[in-house]
Amino acid sequence: MKTIALYSIKGGVGKTASAVNLAYLSSITEPPTLICDLDPQGASSFYFRIVPNKKYSSKKFLKGDTKIYNNIKGTDFDNLDLLPADFSYRNLDIELLEEKKPQKKLKNNIRELNTEYPFIFFDCPPNLTLLSESVFTASDIILVPLIPTTLSLRTFKQLLDFFKECKLDTAKIKGFFTMFERRKAMHREIVKKYSGKKRFLRQIIPYNSEVEKMGIYRAPLNAVRPNATAAIAYQELWKELINEIGQ
């Protein structure tokens, strides 16, 4: 089992779009795939039109294994399942504090799932909290989407510093650029300087209004508009990632 987190301290950088599209591509090439929506806003759940069961909450999530297992729902796509987020997830940080080893909680809770899913994706909320730390421990790869701006790069550096400070494995972190606009000089310069370099993937996701329309389609872009420029870019990104994992 490989676990991939889509994570960024900043919001609005394309975490959910990336998680949904990459998980969809994974469900085709490495079936079956599970996507865990960890963001109380429940954006990826929304994209798949999935509402959590009424009795599902952050408490059940923290109990793990069977409680998680029973609340997994099938998406409209073969071999792609989703663990929906509940609004109660906003309290996950406080609840994690009461656990014995909060950093290892997520890793232990999903252990049972590894026989079923070769790939699990985490769609994370935008902050740096105890839940984030738990995600860092549980993930094999931490994918960080970045808009090619100085502010984004600054938060990326903050993340790396945090990892070093906490003695976490920085090799897990892989940045990649999203919402790239060729007409902007700053975007071009930053991409040229960092893309494909240490801790950065080569493939970039261009800005594409189709990505925003995912909220209307309520489906992965790669499923409904596979020829959109961003969809093609996600496909390439997935290939690059699988390649890296293989190595």
Binding site: P32, I50, V51, K73, G74, D76, N79
Partner: protein, 521 residues
């Protein structure tokens, strides 16, 4: 996700129009139709329905070879397969997992294409208020074949839940069930039966041991006729297939049926007129003889790989001409026997045999003094006799156990085995089964011993016919190696004989047999 979730099957009557039903739903769901799919279903099974008997369907559909669980239609195993051959063996399948799954169903028998049936599948997605798919509804119908009337058209509705939406599925099933055209829950097995029916097939219709109903109080002549008709059925069922050379078991079943016939004839004294009896005894003995070489060659070719592996790698290749030669001989032998099967001589023999069995011969005290004895009495006395013979001869076997002794005992065991099987319907199944399984241990030992002896003898005679040319030296040395290996194996089997005999010659078996004998006291 649709896999690993058990679908539910419902059968419906012809009058039920699902598309119309879905257009005016009384359900909290809306339905989205998917394009109609037409599929050609190629059904496979072994001649003796091994897959069906293990609750599995083997089908090729949409370029996929699949093993389906007859309970729920789920694929146990599936792999890409572009052809639809007339028959195939598990080892012909490249995908390893599929090949081994097929092997667990059948090791020796080929999977034969039983028939092809066209089906149509229409799928709807059941959507909840968020337009999220919560279940799939599939309407599958069998397109009536040309030669079949449309009245037997069969349709099945399958409801497949999406993971995490079980309650929604139950709600949907309830809504559907309220329709009077709904004839209730069914299984994939019923649907598959309908597919086979459309192809004109009855699953499980062949067995190498057809069941015979015997009544203990009926006369032995009456029962003997029934017992003899059953192997005749097997003979007829297999004869057309033997010449097609699809697998070795057509001939094997055929031979067993001939041997059973001979065995019954040999056991029944004073039941049929002696002249007729001896005529048929001879005829079936000759028929059996005609197949001996073919069977021996079959066994060799089946074991070709094993024989090769008995030798060191360098000595394996020189065996190739030997197997090639064997294959050619087999071809020729099969041609001769197939020709015989089509001959007037053969046709007349079986015809006369059939009418002999159908005729009601009056019992005459001179020629058929035993004809009117009760079946149960004859069964008990002949099993008792055969068993005592096995025990007596077995105990006489010396510590070294000579070839002749073991050969003879093997025949005794076979006779007892057949008797136990013939008269099985008359006795308590549990005790009888136990005796048979204990006897089987002994028979296996003797069977392997005799097979290894026959094989060695064949190799000896083959060796003595090899020309004294230099290029035959590698072949000769490989054959020599093989003889040695087979000899060593046979001696191990010989050493184990007494242990095998002891599992049969003991108090427990005697008690079980006495239980059978006392059944008609």
């Amino acid at each position: 996700m649709r896999t690993s979730i058990e679908p539910e099957f419902f059968s419906i009557s012809d009058t039920f129009d699902l598309p119309v039903f879905l257009r005016y739903p009384n359900t909290p769901f809306s339905f989205k139709a998917q394009p109609l799919k037409r599929e050609l279903f190629h059904c496979y099974d072994t001649f003796d329905w091994k897959a069906w008997n293990k609750k599995t369907a083997v089908v090729i559909c949409r370029q996929q070879l699949s093993l389906l669980d007859l309970k729920n239609g789920n694929a146990i195993n599936s792999s890409a397969f572009r052809k639809t051959p007339r028959s195939f063996f598990p080892e012909d399948i490249a995908e390893e997992k599929t090949a081994s799954a097929l092997k667990t169903l059948s090791k020796l028998r080929a999977f034969i294409k039983l028939g092809s049936v066209e089906t149509t599948t229409k799928t709807w997605h059941a959507l909840d208020e968020n337009q999220k798919t919560v279940a799939f509804i599939e309407l599958r119908s069998i397109v009536p074949q040309n030669h079949k009337k449309a009245q037997n058209s069969v349709a099945v509705i399958t409801l497949t839940p999406v993971r995490g939406y079980r309650k929604e599925l139950e709600k949907l099933a309830d809504c559907l069930a309220q329709n009077p055209a709904f004839t209730g829950e069914t299984t994939y097995r019923n649907f598959y039966t309908a597919i086979l029916d459309a192809a004109g097939l009855v699953p499980g219709s062949y067995s190498s041991k057809p069941s015979v109903t015997l009544k203990p109080e009926k006369t032995i002549q009456d029962s003997a006729r029934k017992l003899l008709l059953s192997p005749l059925e097997v003979i007829h069922a297999n004869e057309a297939w033997i010449s097609k050379n699809i697998d070795t078991e057509f001939l094997h079943d055929y031979r067993v049926a001939v041997r059973r016939t001979r065995s019954i004839l040999a056991q029944l004294k004073g039941i049929f007129p002696p002249e007729e009896l001896s005529r048929y005894k001879r005829a079936f003995m000759e028929l059996g003889k005609r197949t001996n070489n073919l069977r021996d060659q079959d066994v060799y070719l089946l074991q070709a790989e094993r024989f090769r592996n008995l030798l060191p790698p360098a000595m394996r290749e020189p065996l190739d001409p030997f197997f090639m030669d064997l294959r050619n001989r087999h071809k020729e032998e099969l041609r001769v026997f197939s020709k015989y099967l089509r001959s007037e001589h053969y046709r007349l023999l079986l015809q006369e045999w059939q009418s002999f069995l159908d005729d009601d011969i009056p019992s005459e005290p001179d020629t058929t003094p035993n004809a009117l004895r009760k079946t149960s009495n004859v069964a008990v006395s002949s099993i008792k006799k055969a068993w005592k013979r096995v025990i007596r001869h077995g105990r006489d076997i010396s510590r070294v156990a000579t070839d002749t002794e073991l050969h003879a005992l093997r025949i005794d065991c076979k006779k007892l085995r057949y008797l136990l099987e013939f008269y099985a319907p008359l006795f308590p199944a549990k005790a009888l089964q136990k005796v048979v399984s204990q006897l089987k241990v002994l028979q296996d030992n003797l069977g392997v011993f005799v097979d290894l002896s026959v094989q060695q003898n064949y190799l000896y005679s083959y060796l003595s016919n090899i020309e004294c040319a230099a290029d035959h030296i590698p072949l000769a040395s490989s054959l020599g190696g093989l003889v040695t290996a087979l000899y060593n194996e046979r001696e191990t089997v010989r050493m184990n004989f007494h242990d095998a005999f002891d599992t049969f010659d003991r108090q427990e078996t005697e008690d079980l047999l006495n239980e059978l004998f006392n059944h008609y006291r």
